[in-house]
């Protein structure tokens, strides 16, 4: 993951509560199997008047000139100012990917939905929580004269071009991860032994959670093991499929 230290950019206002991830990136674009290619479709049904499909470019679309992100003043904005409960709804990480790819690196709101907030920290999009009254003042400022902000994660401050500096709170673990661009999986695998020890004890306490037909692989030989396991399981599945399907049909009443 890329590290986030400081950022300076223009603020774009999105004056709506409960902006859901369906609005941030609509479902038709989730059919992609990639992590990229979502920026053109950010806030798709607000930015454009026509329904879009995967593969279309903004040039082919009918622009909604009334939508704030299409206004001249906010072209190239990289800080999004939003209202409460930003990112609610679906867990789709595509919402974060779309915001980043469009050019946003910071989102400021009075509150965020849980899953969206967590997803931000997997991708170096910095979500900043500020009090509702301060958010209100920032909206007024953006609408009156425009606003350029400098964000310093280490110092936990945002500073306006006029020199006004505001502190923000952030959990130390998340801050450290973002500042250093740390990879979650690598961090967790450092604790491999701890997980293995827990797992062995868990298996003794709740053996029914471990399915005997699917032995735990040797973690040191995962790649090879996976492939072999894959072939075996596939064979087993094909065999058992029809029989099990019938059996379940009668039982599920």
């Amino acid at each position: 993951m890329q590290a986030f230290t400081t950022h300076q950019g223009t603020v774009a206002p999105l004056d709506r509560v409960n902006v859901d991830t369906d609005q941030i990136i609509p479902k038709q674009y989730l059919k992609s199997i990639r992590r990229t290619g979502f920026g053109d479709y950010l806030f798709d049904s607000w930015r454009f008047l026509d329904p879009g499909e995967i593969g279309m470019t903004p040039n082919e679309r009918q622009i909604n000139h009334d939508f704030v992100l299409n206004q001249a003043a906010f072209q190239g904005a990289s800080v999004l100012l939003a209202r409460q409960n930003f990112g609610c709804g679906s867990s789709r990480e595509h919402a974060v990917w779309a915001l980043l790819e469009f050019g946003f690196q910071v989102v400021i709101a009075p509150s965020f939905a849980d899953i969206f907030y967590g997803n931000c920290f997997k991708n170096s999009l910095l979500p900043i929580v500020l009090e509702e009254t301060i958010i209100g003042e920032l909206f007024s400022q953006v609408h009156a004269e425009g606003l350029e902000l400098k964000v310093d994660l280490a110092a936990q401050t945002i500073t306006s071009s006029a020199g006004r500096s505001l502190p923000f709170a952030i959990e130390p673990g998340l801050k450290n991860k973002m500042l250093n661009g740390l990879d979650d999986i690598e961090m967790t695998l450092v604790e491999r032994e701890l997980i293995e020890t827990y797992e062995a004890a868990h298996r003794v306490r709740q053996p029914w959670l471990f399915r005997p037909s699917r032995p735990v692989l040797d973690h040191g030989d995962l790649e090879k093991g996976d492939q072999e396991q894959g072939k075996q399981e596939q064979g087993k599945q094909e065999q058992g499929k029809q029989e099990q399907g019938k059996q379940e049909q009668g039982e599920s009443a």
Partner: protein
């Protein structure tokens, strides 16, 4: 020492370790996978040359973008090439990693949150994750079940763990018993209307009280399913005989000595009498009547006897602004009676309401009646191939087809319109799904969330009606 909540107990039983920065490492017992949020995770795993930590802790099925017609053609029935690639990618990834999958032609295929419980893969006391926010459904089994993003999906694949902070405890206690014609869906919609869509952010909700105890597992799943619509990642219901009776004998459930051992442990899965909750909401089931959503957020709900609210009467300017915007999108007038909302389409399905009990409730209303002329399309999409087969066996499918409904194959379908089942611009739909967001069911589509019985009643009348008058 004060007692523990159900959430505290499951959390402690899965705590691998606590880090210096305050985060915890939580062990995950089951990861459910589907075609939309898993491909990038499998790809990441491959790029880092990592494998699955525990193959047997994963179960997959395609659900989000599978078509609900022409199912017998399998993959060939998917006309959208981008969707097809995604379903094939799931097939390939499951084969390569040895993950058990109920593929498009398997009768056990269906919506992940219907399939897990149906197979007994969802068990009490488990930690369950899925790259889908409605994973909260499985909390009905006293399993700590949460929706996660794709990076977290990859993290669980590679480490069998999740890095998390513990949430706070929220108790929603519902006394009494729901009246006939009032369902679990009405209860949870009323709760979301009271709490707002961020009312339980940062909490795990435990649903308690006699009205919850009286619910079947299907009803409890409906309630837990929509916890996320109140902002909570997870909802829980304590284990009782209803829980264990449902689980017993299912293909993935333990049997013999293991069953006895498991059941003994499961009996401890309830909050202690002296457990304390950070927040408590007390409700009386007698106050719940059939609900209908009028806006573009699940908190925008009203009773069937009510009217569309007037934004000019709202105190909070943000809420008034949101309501004004929603009414414009929905093309509704303030003070319009809920029963005056005319409908174009009906959708009965989704992880919220596509189980056998939901179909029975809808069939009870439909039996011997016809879908109104004004309704362009009325869809019934069972939650799994097995639910479909059972409904056919019970004669429900015939009741629906005779009335003019379309009887489809299992999948998420019009809940989010990733497959060809979508609303047209401006169409009003009575939907048993969970989200009425703008464009969710199709570009420009207007969604009204209701219970299956209310959707069935609306199909017959052509507009919303109080289903209690039709039973």
């Amino acid at each position: 020492m004060t007692g523990q909540t159900l959430y505290d107990k499951i959390w402690d039983a899965h705590l691998v370790g606590e880090r210096a920065d305050g985060n915890s490492l939580i062990y995950i017992d089951l990861q459910l996978l589907h075609e939309v949020t898993s491909p990038q995770a499998f790809e990441g795993l491959g790029l880092a040359k990592r494998g699955l930590w525990r193959v047997d802790a994963n179960l997959a099925t395609p659900d989000h973008n599978v078509p609900t017609d022409r199912r017998e053609q399998g993959l060939a029935g998917i006309t959208d090439s981008v969707a097809l690639e995604q379903v094939i990618t799931l097939d390939k990834n499951c084969t390569a990693h040895g993950v058990e999958q109920f593929d498009i032609l398997d009768q056990r295929q269906g919506i992940v949150h219907v399939v897990g419980p149906e197979q007994g893969a969802t068990l009490p006391g488990m930690t369950i994750v899925c790259g889908d926010s409605h994973t909260s459904t499985h909390g009905a089994f006293a399993a700590l079940a949460q929706g996660i993003g794709t990076s977290e999906v990859e993290h669980v694949m590679a480490t069998q763990c999740l890095v998390q902070n513990k949430a706070k405890n929220f108790a929603i206690d519902v006394a009494g018993k729901l009246a006939p014609g009032v369902y679990a869906k009405d209860l949870i919609m009323l709760i979301i209307g009271k709490l707002g869509t961020a009312g339980a952010t940062g909490y795990t909700i435990e649903y308690r009280g006699s009205a919850i105890r009286e619910l079947t597992m299907e009803g409890r799943m409906t309630v837990c399913n929509m916890s996320i619509e109140a902002g909570a990642r997870a909802g829980l219901v304590a284990v009782d005989a209803t829980t264990t009776d449902y689980v017993k004998g299912r293909p993935f459930a333990p049997s013999g000595d293991l069953w006895a051992q498991a059941q003994q442990y499961w009996q401890t899965l309830h909050s202690d009498g002296d457990a304390s909750f950070d927040t408590v909401l007390n409700l009386d089931a007698a106050d719940v009547i059939p609900q209908v959503s009028w806006g573009t957020s699940p908190e925008m709900v009203a009773g069937i006897d009510g009217v569309v609210p007037d934004p000019s009467n709202m105190n909070d300017p943000n809420q008034a602004e949101a309501a004004t915007h929603a009414l414009k999108y929905m093309q509704l007038e303030p003070n319009q009676a809920m029963t005056a909302i005319q409908l174009d389409r009906i959708f009965i399905g989704s992880c919220t309401n596509a189980r056998i009990e939901d179909l029975r409730a809808a069939a009870d209303v439909v039996r011997g009646r016809k879908v109104a002329r004004g309704i362009g399309e009325a869809l019934i999409v069972p939650g799994s191939g097995l639910v479909k087969a059972q409904a056919e066996q019970e004669g429900l499918a015939l009741i629906f087809v005779d009335a003019g409904f379309q009887w489809r194959a299992a999948g998420c379908s019009m809940c989010l319109g990733m497959n060809p089942d979508q609303l047209g611009p401006g169409e009003h739909c009575a939907s048993t799904s969970n989200r009425n967001f703008e464009g969710r069911q199709g570009f420009g589509g207007r969604t009204h969330l209701v219970s299956p019985a209310m959707a069935a009643a609306a199909a017959i009348a052509g507009h919303f009606v109080d289903v209690r008058e039709m039973l």
